[in-house]
């Protein structure tokens, strides 16, 4: 199946996070690769968004939205590092 890039996670996670998630760096719990969420490979649409590690295919994050409800799982991430939003707070 064709996968998409982590960029597409920005919409479904928009009201889950107070930060822009696709620029956040995260570490894969399985292979220790460090990448921005925007670099993940996203499968599962339109049932949900299954973001997998670009290096080892491990599931990093899953978001499912339906009927005014969202489910989020971030089990596959060891950590997520978010840049100071002030830096980008301009056009």
């Amino acid at each position: 199946m064709d996968h998409l890039d982590g960029n597409v996670l920005a919409g479904p996670t928009t009201d889950l996070f107070a930060f822009e998630p696709t620029t956040a760096q995260g570490q894969c719990r399985s292979c220790a690769d460090i990448a921005a969420l925007g670099q993940a490979m996203v499968y599962g649409q339109p049932m949900g968004f299954v973001a997998r590690c670009r290096n080892c295919d491990n599931v990093l994050l899953v978001v499912v939205e339906h009927a005014g409800q969202k489910s989020l799982n971030m089990r596959g991430l060891r950590w997520l590092r978010v840049a100071d939003p002030v830096e980008h707070n301009r056009i």
Partner: protein, 193 residues
Amino acid sequence: MAVFGGRRGDDNPALPPGQHLTASFPVLSAGPTPSIDTEDWEFFIQTETGQTHRWNWDKFLALPSEDITVDIHCVTSWSKFGTRWRGVSLDTLFSEVETGFDFVMAHSYGGYTTNLPRQELLDGKAWIAYEYGGSELDPEHGGPARLLVPHLYFWKSAKWVRGLVMQSEDNPGFWEEYGYNLHGDPWREERYS
């Protein structure tokens, strides 16, 4: 003013509620397509005693198989009529299995899982399918072999199936854990829990 209708609105009585008909065969997958050589392929059923029944490709193909023509229904709202498969009935595979557990977790190559009640797999309602439309099953559609449970939403028909593990309770599989229905009957529109 333009009014959006979406792709639904078909009054065909053979269509479950909220579904529309498609002629194509859309591909939906929670992960990359695994490449599985039939030399390495096996299917298993594991029971509560820890006993595991195993079939390799040759042993599996030696089982009685049947042609199956069924309508399929994806939870993302497409349905496809008259799909033709060939496969081995789960009745055949379960005939040598003794279990007191009423639920099943299907496991796939690649890590996908989905849960089903055992009774939904028996009485001629479910198969392990290995041909589609007269040809070997394309990896993109679950080949070499997939679960086929056409009376439930199609996410239950696990692609690249490798085994069934009996479970005492209806523990959720991959999508079910995120709110998709544990049962998934399209005629009762059991999309979410």
